[in-house]
Subunit: 337 residues, 2 copies
DNA sequence: CTGAAAGCGCTTACAG
DNA sequence: CTGAAAGCGCTTACAG
């Protein structure tokens, strides 16, 4: 029923191989043959069957991007960069959500994922430990995104400890002393951001305190808003609040606004991720930004190289970050006394 | 090299067909055979080759979701719902960005898309006209999202005219008279939202005026913020601003804040889409919301039915909307005189 | 209930 | 430079 290579070959009066060559730009053929084949392709509306090609070549031209949470604005910005970078390399992107609390789902993706349909996997592991991340005979070629400590798999990361330390130092430099932290603490990135936060406090002679670490039970903006609200019912307003992601910071801004607390006059707020909605928040969020397009390109190129050469030594690429001070943070008002 | 069905069959001492049956849950087999096959699968770490299966079955188990802009928070929320709904039906989702100004890209997706690798296409057409949207022998099974007027393809939509009319009526009901509209006007949805806006004004005896329609050259929050800023340099502040999307409304809130204009005291603002960041904006955005999970489920089910029965009559499903009044809009202050 | 064969549509050696 | 054959790994008729 469907138009196949063979039909095109018949129509053009050449062999199937020649059609394949013309379609894929491989081998050699005269301009005249090329024209004949191309007009046959057009006349018959031929589109190659990618399943057959995939079976034969062992490549589908598809990669999978697995993130803990597809619905956050940060994920959206990342997904777009991956889609564009992949398209530029003639790859399609399949997406997958792993969640923040589903160890089995992460594991399953590594070991079972429609392997043989996807050529490789780019994943942001949240719960998997270094041992579970070892490549095995059944794991597909993969690249990790994020902060998992391991040296057996290609890996694109940002120095979260340094970035969050720098951000907190920025807040300290503005004169703030009681700096709280708000976030979901389960992922490795969150742990590292907390580590940077504590380092900055300690270096400035400020004792980190559990009283200033406000846990958010989930990753959502809504939960962050609620967590801060409850915190402020019990505790005095800090000088500044460092939120582990911009999405959570937006929740914090909302709660502060609702309580009539002015940002940055009464309290400074900072986030992490540099999402668009943070850039246009009221007030715009001080945050940590990275070049997301670069992250996507590097990850995809590492994956392409890994697919081509499965035995090569794992590489790790560090993406630089920038502290982006905006109107949500400002110098502390000197309190008399 | 790779473990195939045949290897499993050999290991379990059964035929390839039996392994296939057990793996797919088709045909009949004794519990004993099933156990033998399953332990062989586990022992050998067998994973079916989806390319081969796809070639044989004519199905890949993959669908494509094509949206104009992958990076917006609205897209992210939609993408997540599609990924979840698809996973629940054992389908994978490949994503594709079409842009707002690339007619050829939209066309290409329809006619060429990795057809034969994807089983179907869910697309939000922006530029394609009704004629270009006719199914042809080369278009894959497809479902449209959004407001394209046509009756040849399955279609999930929201009544944008009514929704935006209702929203603007809400603003009028609050006592506002000079109601501006801000947005990118290229897509069919935008045109319909404008239509609803104009209908509401007309019905209230307020003349629609080009002076109140503020075009945004792109879909971005940044451009919306800039467009409103320029507008306010030239024109008096309206009573209310209806933004065609929440993302653009967030840009508007930012510009108003920057200029020291209070929302909703000096001007009411409304958006469209009900994104999370609008819910937590300062102040929270009045908007139009739909059940995105339902939208995704309906679209995927329509696609599944279309794939199974290519000749069936096209259906159109209407997703209900709700006006969600929040703090960004409030009753007009009676001006003396 | 099981086995052997055919074939999905490609591409890659292998001959000519 | 071109043609005929083989085979990627499945599943679906077809026999037994």
């Amino acid at each position: 029923m469907r138009v196949t290579l063979k039909d095109v070959a018949l129509h053009a009066g050449v062999s199937a191989k020649t059609v394949s060559n013309v379609v894929n730009g491989t081998g050699r053929f005269s301009p005249e043959v090329r024209a004949r084949v191309e007009s046959a392709v057009a006349a018959l509306n031929y589109v190659p069957n990618f399943s057959a090609r995939g079976l034969r070549n062992g490549r589908s031209g598809l990669i999978c991007l697995a993130l803990p949470n597809l619905s956050s604005p940060y994920s959206a910005e990342l997904i777009r960069e991956f889609a564009l970078a992949a398209a530029g390399r003639d790859l399609g992107v399949q997406i997958e959500e792993t969640g923040f609390d589903n160890y089995e789902r992460e594991r399953h993706l590594l070991s079972q994922a429609r392997r043989h349909l996807i050529d490789g996997l780019i994943m942001s592991p949240v719960l998997l430990t270094s041992a579970a991340l070892q490549p095995t005979p059944v794991t597909p070629p993969m690249v990790f995104l994020g902060e998992v400590r391991q040296d057996t798999t290609d890996h694109v990361w940002v120095d979260n400890v340094a970035a969050s330390r720098d951000l907190v130092e920025h807040l300290i430099g503005l004169g703030h002393r009681r700096i709280a932290m708000l976030g979901l603490f389960v992922s490795e990135s969150a742990r590292l951001r907390r580590e940077g936060y504590r380092q900055a406090l300690t270096a400035a002679g400020l004792a980190p305190s559990a009283d200033l670490e406000i846990p958010n039970p989930t990753w959502t903006t809504a939960a962050a808003a609620a967590a801060l609200d409850e915190y402020l019912d019990r505790c005095p307003l800090p000088d500044a609040i460092f939120c582990l992601t911009d999405s959570q910071a937006l929740g914090a801004l909302n709660t502060l606004w609702r309580r009539g607390i002015r940002v940055p006059d009464d309290v400074s707020v900072a986030g992490y991720d540099d999402i668009t909605d943070g850039r246009y928040a009221v007030p715009p969020l001080t945050t940590v930004g990275i070049d997301k397009a670069r992250l996507a390109e590097v990850a995809i190129d590492l994956l392409i190289e890994r697919i081509a050469e499965p035995g090569r030594r794992p590489r790790r690429v560090t993406i630089p970050y920038r502290i982006l001070p905006r109107e949500s943070s400002k110098p502390a008002v000197r309190r008399p006394g």
